[in-house]
Each structure stands twice: as structure tokens, then as C-alpha cells.
Symmetry: C2
Subunit: 648 residues, 2 copies
């Protein structure tokens, strides 16, 4: 008999050799039907693995990340089985579960898989799945494993096995299919009720472009057909909202190979959008006592030697810039903090003058491999809505709360209502990993936790996740499609004040070290605009829309009146754009609708005569005719409803 | 007899061997008293040079640059004479006239010249000057010249002579002093009535730091004592207005060795000032139909290969930035135009959509030797108020005029009323030096000249001063101290549209090349702020002042009321700053006066009770008490008087 402890600390006794599946069955048939995977003594096991000693059990269902992982990992096996059934000469390589679904990299020789063939593979997949084949793990010696794949003429698996140690090699069998595998499966294939093979892409064996290119088949599977349908709908919607697609359609930004990959060029409408976001944050920051500063985009190597960035990141960064004479060395700035420390160091400070809050929309450059680049979310140059607060230890608590207020204000104004926070603190068992004295750390961690509680944040505390130089608070927002994005961060720093020898004179007339807070509510403007595009589908809140009103003149005759209306709007600080092309009004309306501009004004004979405007609202249609003044009021009212002023 | 032609084309006959001085005497004794130098057949000659052939004469007085040049060149001789009289072992090297005055580089051995000694040299200088020694040129063979300086044990002059060709060597004698010299003197030393030796500085022989360090003695001299007095007053005023000094006092900007020399850090007040300038120009540019764009601060090397910048400037620039992998090469951007060309190239254009006007406050980086750096006027990183207009040849004329309007508006709003323009056109005799077809050049040159005329500019036309890619118009402003500064520029460009293969579809449905106009009214924000500081002495126009009002609370009791007033001002978009330190009101007023903030409000018992403010104006003093609303109106009125809206 063995003793099994459950997560709620209850203990039960079972016969040696029981399985997680049987344990679940003992609890309820319902649970047994849903158990996909398990952990025993912190090791991932199969639902069918016999348990041979006392230990802690965790059972995972579809609702757990590890349950999904086992589900998709198992689905990759079935995909491989289906592929081999249809393409007996295909060579399998590797096929893992990923964040959403799974893939298998296959060498199809010279054959290219078509859309139609993906359908056939899906059919075969479901045919196998329905037969409820059990997944069974089996150990093999290195020689057996090599023999198997030599016979199979699969050089990829042979290469994989050659890198494994004898005694650690396992296979997983289901039906007549077998695959080299470390384990972590669902009980049988029958759990998989729905599958979709999403697309194929090229992928080099082991990610090395010198190796052969394989075909990566992406798929996703679910325990219910309904879940697949919902997923595909969301997937379609996400494709429509892809910020790269919207950015092009709305003429917000572009990339040029000549300028360089990962270096966005902001087109007029995008630059205006970005400026509006900056102005919005600047206004709030001004109220919150921040001061704008401006620093250059390069810094002498010495600056980054002092900050420690050079030692830590130098080799993997854009390489140094030498001067043609005089032997100086500069680096593209990867972050603004060292510059702000030097600004702080311009003159001595008294505790009475703190906190100093230096803000800068600072463009920084960080090298990313070209394969990692993705639209505006992963770039090589981006503008942080950065600020550094230099304060006394006594002020940290209040400053931290103030920053949370600002972050919440920003999220609220942009329609992100759904977010979580994470407080990252030290691993108290490893004090050697951290700089700064323990009392200060404890104070800072407690300040962050208190602040998060007081502000009513939904937060988790992660031990050991703090940076070596201080604890931090990160925000994750959920967008309209339920996807999570890491956004703003607030970070306490004891390191840079030390390295830059920052001081202030305390009330005791002695010099003390200030504490530094790094913070960026948006994170980066590039990434934020991308997320905002995907969240709103390009339907920006009225206050933010680059163009708020499209003025559509019915014919050339009405251009003069339209121009007058445009001037009126400009004088009322409403952003209008006049479409006076020689096109039909119908076409102009259709195009304006596509451009997602919140309002249109139709300006023709009647309107010119009555000196009014006919208003259409995006996605709502006709709103009726009104005076210019009434329209201006309408806009003002809608704007003030969607965005309040920051109060602190 | 020889025939002499005057600038007014009149001809006179003189005996061979007459001198410019005698010619002047023949015209009037007054002129003869003022003639300092002359040109004969376009060669600089002495007033005493015998004229031996027919030719054209130009006579120069103190009012001519060449007159001043001869005056100061001659003064350098007298300075050298005075130095040798007092320091017989000093070794002379070179001593030219400069833009304002002259200097002489002298090897004093180990001796350092003191303030007091400069006075003694001045005395000796004037003693010699009063004796009206004539300057006389004399030819010498190379051997004679070498012998003279070998005997004198002067290795510097020996080295100079060794590099000269025999037959071209001349000396100038006056009194018992002689110096190796090419000529260009005033008739005699008596013209010099006033001299001031300004300072001494170290200077390496031939500018090479490997050579011996010499002592450079700077001086300035005048034909009248009054002129020296005026000059010195202006010089003192200029020192007070030195933007480096004011920038520090007003806490506008700073430099850090760690960040790097020539890379300004804008402090909060400076950043606010700069942002105000940007907003001002942005608003005017928006009215003028410009669109803001944003481009990165680096570009792939390929971009600069295409633009031609790499070939032309690559070696003398900040060196390329390599990536740590993938072998890409980037450059810090030295100008924004290539990026804007790529933005234009994002999509096809029709002639109906032109002109496109892309504006960017683009920060560029250009390497300068550390010795060339000077405050904000000569830096390694600066932000251009840049824009590029892409237009059809038919639109060039109007666009150019529009740009002039904008530039004049900018100058006017910032109090630069005194300026000159220069139109730089081709040298028509050297067509091979220019790209683009002749008809377009003629059209563009004529367009610029017409525009300059129509806008009533005070301008000169300089042949051969155009860039190889197009003609241009430059503006020189005169500041409050009469100093000239090169500011805005407008440049036509046929080259980049060619290199970037820019096109638009014309009304003929064919593809055509647009013309590009580069323009920057400020030039660079750094340089402009420097000039503005020196022009205004830091007394910025009210609309521009970083802080418009200093609120001075009389004691702690009145802090709350002061805070209310500050909030009122903020709500009325007036930039206030509260001084609630525990200091006497007298001290607060004195410090506020020094900080050059245009207005102060005294806030004490009486004001809190009556809910009003006591107003003081910078450099004017008490203005009286008034309500908050009246004060807001006063500010608004002063602002709107000093800056109008741009109308186009």
C-alpha cells in the first residue's frame, strides 16, 4: 500500500501500482473522464503511470495549462501517425505542444503539402482519434532505439538519440505507431474530439539555416467541437485585427528594408496617433509632478561601464560606434536610465527637493535577431514612455502608490479594464543574489504589496522573480479577444544609485542614497499601439483617433463650404480631414467607413444653404443634420465621456 | 602714363609709379586720410604700392572688410614689434588678422604672460603706433630670408621659409622691425589709435598637438578710441549673454563627460522651452499643410549607399554599427532626408496628391572633433526642425514662397527682425558640376529669385555657391549685439529623387520625378536656442518662457492660497512655478528677478484675504494688485501681442 497526499493536504491509501486515472475514478467518474495528465512528486506522469511509492499527486484537466499541454502533445503524436499513414516515406523529426496547439516538423522530401492535403490529414487524424488508442510509455536501450530508426531510415531521430544517454530513452506507443518521447500524454486518443491543421511553414532542422528545410505543420485540437469553432472564430477575428495588417490599411506605420528591419517608420497618421498618446500621458504626468527631460540616443561606453549594461549586454547588442579620430567609443542607448542618472547628478540635491521625477519619451535601440522581429510588438528601435523617480526611502511608499494610480488611469482611459498584476520579490533563501541592504528590500517589497492591496489590484506574488537590483510590479492586460499582453512595469532600483554615486543631503545634513523607481505605463509606444490596434480593431476611442471626422463634399461646388467647415473644426480643436476628390458621395462614404474614422460629415447643397452638417457615425450610420456648433458640442461631450483628466 | 579704371567705370590717367594713396589724395584729402588698403587688378596691394601698368583700382577704408583686414594685419605687426621690444628672446611664428581683430603666436620659452604684462605690451604698442611708421614691402631671396632667421635663431620662421619657393618671398619692414609677410598693410602705424589685448591662449605650432605649445596673444585695434570702447562694451555684454553661461544659470541644459562631449542633456526647463518651440512650429506647419512623421535614428548602410551620404561622408563620420549576428551594418543618421524618401516610397502617388510635406523634429548625429565643439552651437547630436516637400516642377514656385512665408513668420515671432538672405545658384560656366537638367535648374533658380523678390527679402545672389544637387536660399540673422548667425535654409534637390527613384503619376498618366525641397527654419533646435539665448540674454518672450510666472508665498501660512493660485493659472494654461521655501520675500524676489521669469506674484496675508495677486514684472517692478482673472487676461494679451497665428 502507498500513501497519496492531495493538494488540499488530505491523505489516502492506495494499492501500490495504482494510476492517476484510477485515483481520479475513485473520487468521481466525472473527474476520471476529464483527467488528462498528472504530476507525482513534482514530476509530470501519464494518467496511466503506475505509482510505486508514497507521494504528492496533482491531477490536471483541460482547465489547467499542464492538462492542455498533455492534450496537445498527444495530438502531435496522432498528427504524426496520420501523416505516416498518408505519406509512408515522410521522415518525422520533432513535434512539441506550443502555447496554443502543437506542430510537427516533417521531411516530406521534395513534396509540398497543399491546403487540400491538410484536410485529408485532418480526416485521417480524426479517424485514428476516434478509436481511443491508449498512449503507452516504454523504455528502450540506446541500441534498440538506434536500430529502430536506422531501419526506418530516419537520420533526424538517429541524431536525436545519439545525443541521449543510454538508460534515459523512452518511446510512446499508440495503435501501431511509435515515437521517441519523454512522456506527458492523455490516457487515450478518444479525448481529442476536434482538430484543425492551421497552416504549414518552412523550418530548418534544429533551427539552423545551414540544415535541411523541413515542413512544419501547425495544428490545434480540442476536447469539444464547439471549442474549436469558437477558437477559429477568434482566430479569424485576430487575423483581421493583426496590427501589421491594420497598420498598413490605416496608413499608420511602415517598414523599409533600406532603413532596416525592425525599425518602424511612422507615417503621418501613425505619428499623429503616437503624439496624441504622448500628449495624453504628458498631461497626466505633469499633474503628477513629473518633469520632461531629453537625452541623446547614444552614450559614451564609459556610461554603460558605470551602469553595468556594457558588461551584461554588450556582446549581444548593437556593436560600439567608434569615432573616426580621437579614439572615442559610443553605444546606441539600450535604456534611458543611465542618462537620467547623469541628469540627476548635474547638481547636489536636498531631501526637501525630492522626489525628482524625470520623464522622457526616449527612443532606445536593442538588437533582436531578424527571426524574432514581429510588426511593432518586437522591434529593434522603440520609444519608451520612460520615467525615473529619485526619492528618499520614506517617500517610496507614496511614490509607488502614485505610480499605480497613473498606470490605472492610463489603462482605464484606453479601455483596458481587464488586467492582472504580479509582484516580483526576492527569493529570501538566496540573499547573495541581490544587492542593497535587507532592511531596504523588506521595506520596498512590503511597500509594493501594501500599495497593490490598497489600490485593489488583482495580483499574485512571485518569489525569486525580482531583478537583482530590486522588486517590481508588472501589469498584464487582457485584450478584447481574451489574449494576455505584458504592459506597464514599475521597478524599484537600489543598484544604479550606487553605481552612479547618486546622493542627496538629508535632514541630518549627511549625504544619503536616493532610491530610484523605473516606470513605463505603456512600456513602449510601438508595442502599445500594436496592442491597442489589436484590442480595438483600429476603432480608436474618439479622443485618440488620428482623424475624428471625415468631411465628404458631395461635389466640387461644395468644396468651399466644406473648407469652411474644416476651418471651423480646426478652430475647435477637432481633427478633420476633407475628402474633396471628384468621386461619388457613395464611394466616399464607403471608403470613410473602411478607414474607421469615427464621424463623417456629408456636405452638399442643402447643408451649404442651411449652414449645417449631415452627420454619420462609424458603424452606426446616419445621425441627422445639426448646426456646426451642435456638432462640436457632440464631439466634445463624447471625448469627455471617454477620457477624464488625471487627478492626483 | 597709365590708365586707371575706377569701380564706377570712370577712367583716369596717372604717371607710372603712382600709388593707391596718391590716387586717393587726388580725389580728396578726406579719402586719402581713410584709405587703408587697395586691390589692383583683383590683387591685394598696399596703399603705398607703385602701380606700373593700366588696371582697375578698388580703394578700401575701415568700412570695408578688406580695409579692416589690412588694419588688423598691420596691427599684428605692431604687436610683434612691441613683444620683441619687451621680450627680446621671444620667437615670433605667425600672426594673422581674424574676423574680429588679430593674434600673434609667440614662443615665450617657459615664460607665462600675465594680465599685467598684456597692459605693458599694449602701452608699448601704442607708443610705436603713434610714431606713424610706414609699412614697406621688400623682396628677398630664399637664402637671404633663411640667413636672417637663422641668425635670429627662430626655427619657426625657418620652417615657414623652407616651404616657400624662391622668388616669392617678401618681408615687411616698419621702424626697425621686420617680418616675413605676403603684404596687405595700411599706409602707416599712425592709423591705429586704440588697441586692446584681449587674452592669451595656448596654441600648438601649426595646430598639431605633437608640436610645441605656443602662446597666442589675441588683440583688437581701432582707428578711434570710441570704437574700442563700444566694442569692449559689446564684448562684455556678449560674455554675459554667453549661452553656455545662461544655460547653466537658467538650468536649461548640461553636458556630461560620461554621456559624451557634444551630446547635450536637456534639463526640465530646457526641455520645456524646446517643446514650446516645437509646438509653435508644429502649429504653423500644420496650418501650412505639413504632416509629421517619425523615423529611427539609425539606418542600414544600404540607405546611405543609395543616398550617396556614405560615399561622401562615411570616413569622417561616426563609424558603422555592426550587429552581433547576421552581419548587418547600420549608421547613426546624419540627416533625415533618406528616411523621408523611403516614407514617400511607401506607396505610389498621383500628381493630384502632391505636394507631400513630411516634417520631423529629427535628431541627427554628426561627428565633430572635440576641439570644434562649443556649447549648443557646435554639437555632435542635434535636432533639426526638418521637413521635405515632394512636389511637381509646376508647384515649386508656390511651395518656395510658402516656405519663405513660414521662415519669416518664425523669425518675426522670435524677435529676429534684422536678417539677410543669400540665393546660391550654379556657376553657369561649369555645367559638369551639377546634376539635373538645365531647364529645371533655370526654372528653380528663377523661382527662388522671384520668390525672394516678391517677399521683399534683402538678398544677394552668389554664383557657384549652389550645392551640386540644387540651388538654395540661406538666411543670416543679426542678433541684438549685431552679430550675424546663419539660420534657416531652403534647398532645392534634384538628386535624391533620382537616387531613390521617387515618382508620381502625372496628368499624362506617365511616371515623373518629383522635386524635393529641404527646409529648416530654425536649422537645429540646439543652435537656435543658443542664438535665442544670446539674442535675448535669457529674457525670453512671454509666450516662450519656460516659467511665465513665479508665485512667491510670503510665509508658510500663505502656501495654501498660493497653491490655489497656481492651480488657477494651470487651468488657464499659464505656466507658473511656486516658490514656497521658508525664505524671506525679499530674497525670493531677488532670486526670481535673476531667473528672468517675466512675472512674479506676491502672495501674502492681504492677497489671500482679498483673493487677488500683487504683480511684479521682470525688470519693471511693481505693477499693482489685481484679480486672478485680470492677471490671466494680462498674460493672454501680452502673449497674443508678441505672437500671431500663422496664416497662409
Amino acid at each position: 500500500m502507498i500513501e497519496i497526499r492531495f493538494p488540499d493536504q488530505s491523505l489516502r491509501t492506495y494499492a501500490e501500482g495504482t494510476t492517476p486515472f484510477k485515483i481520479a475514478q475513485g473520487i468521481s467518474e466525472g473527474l476520471a473522464r476529464n483527467v488528462l495528465s498528472a504530476k507525482f512528486n513534482d514530476q509530470v506522469v501519464e494518467a496511466s503511470t503506475p505509482l510505486l511509492e508514497d507521494g504528492n499527486i496533482q491531477l490536471f484537466t483541460w482547465n489547467d495549462d499542464l492538462g492542455k499541454n498533455a492534450f496537445w502533445h498527444s495530438s502531435a503524436h496522432v498528427l504524426a501517425q496520420a501523416i505516416l499513414a498518408l505519406y509512408p516515406n515522410a521522415k518525422l523529426t520533432i513535434g512539441p505542444a506550443i502555447e496554443k496547439g502543437f506542430y510537427y516538423d516533417v521531411d516530406f522530401g521534395t513534396h509540398s503539402i497543399t491546403e487540400k492535403e491538410l484536410k485529408d490529414i485532418e480526416k485521417k487524424f480524426l479517424e485514428f482519434a476516434r478509436q481511443k488508442f491508449e498512449f503507452k510509455m516504454r523504455s528502450a536501450s540506446k541500441q534498440e532505439a538506434l536500430d529502430f530508426y536506422h531501419k526506418d531510415e530516419n537520420p533526424y531521430k538517429v541524431e536525436l538519440i545519439e545525443n541521449l544517454e543510454d538508460g534515459t530513452i523512452t518511446f510512446c506507443d499508440h495503435a501501431d505507431f511509435t515515437d521517441l518521447c519523454r512522456g506527458g500524454h492523455i490516457p487515450h486518443t478518444g479525448f481529442i474530439k476536434a482538430v484543425k491543421l492551421l497552416n504549414v511553414a518552412g523550418a530548418y532542422w534544429r533551427g539552423d539555416e545551414k540544415n535541411k528545410q523541413l515542413t512544419r505543420v501547425y495544428g490545434i485540437s480540442f476536447p469539444k467541437q464547439k471549442e474549436l469553432t469558437e477558437y477559429l472564430e477568434l482566430f479569424e477575428e485576430a487575423k483581421k485585427r493583426d496590427h501589421r495588417k491594420l497598420g498598413k490599411e490605416l496608413e499608420l506605420f511602415t517598414f523599409s528594408q533600406k532603413v532596416g528591419q525592425g525599425l518602424p517608420l511612422w507615417l503621418p497618421k501613425g505619428a499623429a496617433l503616437r503624439e496624441r498618446l504622448e500628449s495624453f500621458l504628458k498631461a497626466a504626468q505633469k499633474k503628477a509632478g513629473y518633469e520632461q527631460v531629453i537625452s541623446p540616443h547614444i552614450g559614451n561606453k564609459e556610461l554603460y561601464m558605470t551602469s553595468g549594461h556594457y558588461e551584461k549586454y554588450g556582446e549581444d547588442s548593437f556593436q560600439p560606434i567608434e569615432t573616426p579620430a580621437e579614439g572615442e567609443t559610443f553605444l546606441l542607448k539600450p535604456m534611458n536610465c543611465p542618462h537620467h542618472c547623469e541628469i540627476y547628478n548635474t547638481r547636489p540635491w536636498s531631501y526637501k527637493e525630492l522626489p525628482k521625477r524625470y520623464a522622457e519619451f526616449g527612443t532606445v535601440y536593442r538588437y533582436e535577431q531578424s527571426g524574432e522581429l514581429h510588426g511593432l510588438t518586437r522591434v529593434r528601435g522603440f520609444t519608451q514612455d520612460d520615467a525615473h523617480i529619485f526619492c528618499t526611502p520614506d517617500q517610496l511608499d507614496q511614490e509607488f502608490k502614485n505610480v499605480i494610480d497613473l498606470v490605472l488611469y492610463v489603462f482605464g482611459s484606453l479601455g483596458f479594464d481587464n488586467f492582472q498584476a504580479q509582484v516580483s520579490i526576492r527569493d529570501p533563501t538566496k540573499p547573495e543574489k541581490y544587492i542593497g541592504d535587507t532592511a531596504n528590500w523588506e521595506k520596498a517589497e512590503q511597500a509594493i504589496i501594501d500599495a497593490a492591496q490598497e489600490k485593489g489590484l488583482d495580483f499574485v506574488i512571485e518569489k525569486g522573480e525580482a531583478a537583482f537590483y530590486g522588486p517590481k510590479l508588472d501589469f498584464m492586460v487582457k485584450d478584447a479577444l481574451g489574449r494576455k499582453w505584458q504592459l506597464g512595469t514599475i521597478q524599484v532600483d537600489y543598484n544604479l544609485p550606487e553605481r552612479f554615486d547618486l546622493t542627496y543631503k538629508g535632514s541630518d545634513n549627511e549625504l544619503h542614497r536616493p532610491i530610484m523607481i523605473h516606470r513605463a505605463p505603456f512600456g513602449s509606444l510601438e508595442r502599445f499601439v500594436a496592442i491597442l490596434l489589436e484590442h480595438t480593431g483600429g476603432n480608436f476611442p474618439l479622443w485618440l483617433a488620428p482623424t475624428q471626422v471625415n468631411l465628404l463634399s458631395v461635389s466640387e461646388k461644395h468644396e468651399k463650404y466644406a473648407q469652411k467647415v474644416l476651418n471651423f473644426l480646426e478652430n475647435n480643436e477637432i481633427r478633420g480631414s476633407l475628402d474633396n476628390r471628384n468621386e461619388t458621395i457613395g464611394k466616399k462614404i464607403r471608403e470613410a467607413e473602411l478607414s474607421k474614422v469615427p464621424f463623417m460629415l456629408i456636405l452638399g447643397e442643402k447643408e451649404a444653404e442651411l449652414k449645417n452638417v449631415s452627420v454619420r457615425k462609424h458603424r452606426k450610420g446616419d445621425v441627422g443634420a445639426m448646426s456646426l456648433e451642435s456638432f462640436a458640442e457632440l464631439i466634445e461631450k463624447e471625448v469627455s465621456e471617454s477620457i477624464s483628466k488625471f487627478e492626483n
